[in-house]
């Protein structure tokens, strides 16, 4: 279980300290503590890449990745065989002097994550959309791995 660092925040009044403390307690049970800060909901510790979901049905494999506040051109998607690789860089929007920050929890920098897909897909038919900060990739399965219905004839 990860240890929580207690941070002294002199500029916060007791009321907000209490509400943050309650949230810190909740995080004891939230196993996804990020090395970059308290929040870190998008970058996953250990993999250095975005949180992902993988879904499948008979027709498609779908991968969703949490990448809030990014530009499409800073995200790179590639596929080799049944391994999908997401690469990119999360950049800070503008040059802001550090002393003007009260709090920095958002993480920045390059990331790379390779994901083994549950089935081979048709690489040239992948559709990727970026919406509400979620990158969604819909990948049609190769015809040979789609389930086929076999009729049983009774003699």
């Amino acid at each position: 279980m990860a240890l929580i660092r207690y941070r002294h925040r002199p500029d916060w009044d007791p009321f907000s300290w209490l509400s943050d403390f309650r949230q810190d307690l909740t995080r004891v049970f939230d196993s996804r503590l990020s090395p970059w800060g308290e929040g870190g909901t998008d970058l996953l510790e250990g993999t250095g890449g975005p949180r992902i979901d993988i879904y499948e049905d008979d027709e498609n494999v779908v991968v969703n990745a949490d990448l809030p506040g990014m530009k499409k051109e800073d995200i790179d998607i590639s596929i080799t065989g049944d391994v999908l690789t997401l690469k990119g860089e999360k950049k800070q929007e503008e040059e802001v002097k550090e002393e003007n920050y009260h709090r920095i929890e958002r993480s920045y920098g390059s990331f790379q994550r390779s994901i083994t897909l549950p089935a081979p897909v048709e690489a040239d038919k992948i559709k990727a959309t970026y919406r509400d900060g979620v990158l969604e990739m819909v990948m049609p399965k190769r015809p040979e791995v789609k389930p086929k219905k076999i009729d049983v004839t009774v003699k």
């Binding site: 929040g39 958002r106 900060g133 979620v134």
Partner: protein, 118 residues
């Protein structure tokens, strides 16, 4: 049966979103990462001196089998104490690509003023 009256959904998972807060001469800017939250799912309210943002994200992959799940459908919620420095009438909110930017302008009286020396 009694069960029909109970809400079958499990209680919502509340997650604290990560934020950046920076202060300029004229305003305080807060950025919160809210992946998967759209305009309809976002609520920003002020109660007294407490500003609360709350963004709901739905589960993905409807109708499909989950192979791996690292993203939790949840409510992103976080509250902040706003001082008198902020002009509440002029707070602006922009939500783009899962990033909420709140611009909290400082009231005119508190902005730095240059004093002419005659």
């Amino acid at each position: 049966m009694n069960d029909e009256k109970k809400d079958p959904r499990p209680p919502e998972r509340v997650i604290t979103p990560c934020v950046n807060i920076r202060e300029g001469e004229d305003d305080v800017i807060l950025e919160a990462e809210l992946p998967g939250v759209s305009r309809d799912g976002l609520e920003i309210s002020i109660d007294g001196d407490e500003l609360t943002l709350s963004g709901k994200r739905e589960a993905g992959g409807k109708g499909m089998r989950a192979v791996r799940k690292e993203i939790t459908p949840c409510v992103y919620r976080r509250s902040f104490i706003i001082g008198d420095v902020i002009d509440r009438e002029k707070i602006e909110a922009r939500l783009k690509d899962g990033l909420l930017t709140l611009v909290l302008p400082k009231s005119a009286e508190t902005r730095p003023r240059k004093i002419e020396i005659t």
